[in-house]
């Protein structure tokens, strides 16, 4: 019996991704979640086949995993990836992914993992950071959960949101740019599909007063690295990523942003 296939394309960080579904309802759920990133272009450089498995038939249970498990199947030249409620494969040569899941979160995680692998080859990386454009200038705020990423975006209504949770950084023509992503945090709103040059990086520190202080490249790198998203245990690729992060933090001006949850902190950033 022929399985009917539905698809749509998205574009994240100038990387077109076409996603094929065997279930139209599941396609519609995901189209809504990725709505800001829907692309007219139908042929993605990355193609992902999604097999929808209803919850009652879903037998995988990896919910205890803090991070995804990634292995490499050398006979088929592909990564095997599984994490909470999904499992899939991704071939870096053909750029074809296959995933079985039953919710948007599973597909979302799979795309993040695939992007983290592909981006490194394009001088880019994903990072736990909120990012936004304010007065035509780009700002990046890296930090783990609870650091204040979403709070900062909430307190900056006069801005274009790129993401309140996972930002995409890519080196383009010798400069680093932040791209909007559909990967959201507590804000539950996807970013805009646009990009901006990043010149300053602010590491949020919740404090009892607002101030900004410049930090060294070495401290900036130490603060940046734990937020960079890369799940694969591959020492060669991890070194490449380390070098790229060093290049990034040397390119930008790193600061600590000590802030109270009030918009006034922007005055201290603007004074820098």
């Amino acid at each position: 019996m022929e399985v009917q296939s539905y698809n749509f394309s998205i574009n994240i960080g100038e990387m077109p991704i076409t996603i094929f579904f065997d279930d139209n309802d599941f396609l519609e759920v995901n189209m809504t979640r990725f709505s800001n990133f829907i692309s007219e272009k139908e042929n993605g450089s990355i193609n992902i086949d999604v097999e929808y498995i209803p919850l009652e038939k879903f037998k995988l249970n990896y919910e205890d995993l803090e991070s995804p498990k990634i292995g490499f199947d050398s006979s088929k030249n592909r990564y095997i990836i599984y994490w909470n409620s999904f499992e899939g494969t991704f071939n870096m040569n053909t750029m074809i992914g296959k995933i079985s899941c039953n919710n948007h979160a599973g597909l979302n995680s799979f795309i993040r993992i695939a992007l983290s692998l592909v981006l490194l080859k394009k001088q880019g990386f994903l990072i736990h950071a909120s990012s936004l454009i304010r007065h035509h200038k780009g700002y990046l705020f890296p930090g783990k959960s609870g650091a204040g990423k979403t709070t900062i975006t909430r307190l900056t209504p006069d801005s274009t949101l790129l993401s309140d949770e996972v930002s995409l950084i890519k080196k383009v023509d010798g400069k680093f740019r932040a791209y909007g992503t559909p990967f959201w945090g507590e804000l539950s709103i996807g970013g805009e599909n646009t990009s901006v040059s990043i010149d300053d990086v602010y590491f949020p520190v919740q404090d009892r007063k607002n101030y900004v202080n410049s930090i060294s490249i070495i401290l900036g790198l130490e603060k940046l690295l734990p937020n960079v998203i890369f799940y694969l245990n591959d020492l060669k690729l991890e070194k490449e990523l380390f070098d790229l992060c060093f290049e990034f933090i040397s390119y930008v001006s790193p600061y600590e942003l000590h802030f109270l949850p009030e918009p006034d902190f922007w005055r201290f950033i603007d004074d820098e």
């Binding site: 060294s216 490249i217 070495i218 401290l219 790198l221 130490e222 690295l225 734990p226 020492l235 991890e238 070194k239 380390f242 070098d243 060093f246």
Partner: protein, 98 residues
Amino acid sequence: MMNDCIIKNDEKIAYRVIEDKTLVVNLENSTFHTLNPIATIIWNNLDGKTPITTIAKNISKEFDIDFETAQKDCLEFINDLIEKGLIILCSNQAEEIK
């Protein structure tokens, strides 16, 4: 032991010397180590050729401290780096430095 040489565990680490400090990352366990200026001088001398005793003499001269103190500090630091898997003794008897 003082005549042994040390090499950086390049297969498992990534590092950058920036001005007078160094950030070393153990990629196996994602731990970060920031080395101060004296530690950075020692780190820069861990080239597989320079004996520990020569490194201690250089530190003693550079920072105007007596050789015994420099030697003790060098050994403690190197022992710590070995325990953290960041460096390897170039000795057939790669036992803990006493």
